[in-house]
């Protein structure tokens, strides 16, 4: 039983990726979680993982090839081939690998199905599926038109062939005017080698990806904003006490407390952890906060720290250090960029007091933390100098209301104030 391993969707708006290198070769056995190769996307080079034990039969997409999301990269032989598993075991492997080559969702469903131990875990899609007619979707791929940016004029607001072709005419201008005479261009022409995106192109591509996601966010998501300032004095004293006894490499990061406080709180407020798609909210089964990390040379990514609510502060600190380093060197993994369930943003020590985030669709909330600043602060009738931080929440009003948002923000602050319980 052979089956394709497809280009995963590594975030909303990703249309394709370019294979940089393979870490496997035909005949090699791979285990679930193995990094099998590296793919270049607008978010940088991403290591892609495999989600089952299998044998690599064939490499379909050679390095340098640009492959649309959902198209085959490798051919795998499943476990059913060479050992006598029960039929149900084989079925479950097949069930986790949707056969259709639909654009965005299948690869991501793989990621979710496999990364969640709970069998009842609902598959999660990266984005609400656009209504696009099949011929329009095919033509958009040929003409490299971003479907997300189009307004559909067809039945039920579907994007039609005419929408795609008029968009292509508008964007491509004279150099790539579509041939409306109906002549079929070669499908998915391979990109010549000399057109591979370099760093400059990648930054432009990342800018474009951010533009698409943020435009969609502001167009579709009715944000509401809440802010809450509180004294961090107690937390910071606890932290310096803990860190005093540790070697520099083992010292806890303030960000780990922040991450854990959000992750624990969101467990109690599940309407902020998940996805708005197909006109409804779907809570995510796990808590995988994305950490917004700005990159040298511009741009940002928000890779996930998986199951942050269940990890110790030490593990989170280690995870954050690792993630920041890999984000900046361009070695993120597919699962990390694909599946954050809520985003956290911090402008760091040198930033300003308050940051109101823009939600990364299809997520429904982003929590912001400003810089820690010294302010006069009254406690019990006494004014003193306190280190103060402002937490903010930007949330999707379709999925939650301000009342719950305010309780959620308050809960994060309380967890933050009692670090010993984190």
């Amino acid at each position: 039983m052979s089956k394709p391993y497809r280009m995963p969707s590594l975030g909303a708006g990703m249309e394709d990726g370019t294979v940089i290198e393979w870490h496997v070769e035909p005949g090699q056995r791979v285990r679930r979680g193995d990094v099998v190769g590296v793919v270049d996307t607008e978010k940088g080079a991403i290591e892609i993982e495999i989600w089952e034990d299998a044998e690599v039969l064939e490499i379909v997409a050679d390095p340098g090839t640009k492959v649309p999301v959902g198209e085959p990269l490798l051919v795998l032989a499943g476990q059913g081939d060479d050992d006598d598993r029960s039929p149900s075991a084989q079925e479950s492997v097949e069930a986790a690998t949707p056969g259709s080559a639909e654009a965005e969702s299948p690869a991501l469903e793989d990621v979710w199905d496999e990364s969640e131990a709970a069998p009842e875990a609902a598959p999660v899609e990266a984005a609400p599926r656009l209504r696009v007619s099949p011929v329009a979707r095919r033509r958009a791929r040929e003409l490299r038109v971003e479907l997300e940016s189009l307004e559909g004029s067809g039945p039920g607001g579907a994007i039609t062939l005419a929408d795609v072709e008029s968009a292509a005419r508008g964007e491509a201008g004279e150099e790539e005017a579509p041939d409306s005479a109906g002549q079929e261009p070669p499908s998915s022409p391979p990109r010549p080698k000399d057109e591979e995106p370099g760093d400059k192109d990648r930054h432009a591509a990342m800018r474009k990806a951010i533009a698409v996601a943020m435009t969609r966010s502001k167009r579709e998501i009715p944000h509401y904003y809440l802010a809450h300032a509180f004294s961090l004095e107690r937390t910071l004293r606890w932290l310096s006490r803990v860190n005093e006894e540790r070697r520099p490499a083992e010292r806890l990061l303030l960000a780990s407390l922040y991450l854990k406080a959000v992750a624990k709180s969101v467990r109690e407020f599940p309407e902020f952890n998940g996805f708005w798609d197909d006109g409804g909210f779907r809570p995510a089964p796990g808590v995988h906060p994305g950490m917004a990390i700005s990159l040298r040379g511009g741009g940002l990514v928000a890779p996930a720290i998986h199951d942050a609510d269940q990890r110790s502060l030490e593990e989170l600190t280690k995870g954050i250090r690792d993630l920041v380093q890999r984000a900046r060197s361009g070695h993120l993994r597919g699962s990390e960029v694909a599946d954050p369930t809520i985003t956290l943003t911090s402008l760091g020590d040198r930033g300003v007091e308050t940051v109101f985030g823009v939600i990364y669709p299809p997520q429904v909330a982003i929590v912001g933390v400003g810089s820690v600043v010294e302010r006069p602060w009254a406690v019990g009738g006494m004014v003193g100098s306190h280190r103060v931080v402002t937490l903010t929440l930007a949330a999707d009003h379709r999925a939650s209301d301000g009342h719950r948002g305010s309780l959620f923000l308050d809960r994060i602050a309380r967890h933050f104030e009692t670090p010993e319980d984190l």
Binding site: S133, V135, S153, G156, T160
Partner: protein, 330 residues
Amino acid sequence: MKTTYREAVREAIREAMHRDERVFLMGEDVGRYGGCYAVSKGLLEEFGPERIRDTPLAESGFTGAGIGAALGGMRPIVEIMTVNFSFLALDQIVNNAATLLHMSGGAFNVPLVIRMATGGGRQVAAQHSRSLEGWYAHIPGLRIVAPATLDDARGMLWSALEDPDPVILFEHVLLYNMEGELPEQAGPVSIEGAAVRREGTDVSLITFGIGVFKALEAAEVLAEEGVSAEVLDLRSLRPLDDRAILETVRKTHRAVIIDEGWRSGGISAEISARITEGAFYDLDAPPARVCGVEVPTPYPEHLERAALPQVPDIVEAARGLLSGGEGDVA
């Protein structure tokens, strides 16, 4: 030459009788009465009672006799008054005519032609107004054709008689009075393949029988709105001309299927499925269907009209595929 569909069918029978002495016509009231729809008027006088045979009201019996005659080397034309009465002969048609070649290991062909009137619109109520072409199109071993034009009414019968296997011709009751021009020398036409009756670029209206004329009328209305509709006359319902169906859909990217039969499990469902299977990536909208309303066909004129596909329904369905509607075309 000005003629009618009825006269074209009669000419086709006459020609066949003259060309091949093995051909004979058999059915209820086809002789003295001249046929329920007056198709065979005058033929008894011309060919005599041996070859124009009135039968009892026993569809199973005379259809079976037709099968036997065909096996015995004759070329019978069995007229079943309407599709509604053919149910009485279903066992003969489905169990015998369609299978004997197979059951005999290829030894016995059944060169039988059955003509039936079909369809509603004459205010003869539920038991006399059915369009069940799709039922017969389901059966391997049968060839199902639906002549819509005068040329096909005139030309399909001879080709059907030449086919070594059973062929059923469906003649829509509302077409018999249709007048038009037919060349003097009009003769046999192929019973295979669909025909484009009007060229267009924006939407394909796929249909057969009476639907062809409703679709052509709808195409006129759409043309006034700047929509260019192509009309495909299927002609043959089994086998379906997949190539022609997919070709027109690949050209226009949109399809409306029009069938007087009911939507559930009907021939329209089969056509829609083949479009989706074969031209999915060429579709710019889901295939739409205009079918008979799923009720026993009503007797009152206004209700009957409402229950059968009409020109405005086809225009509406086509519009729905072309412009931003409010939701799914369910």
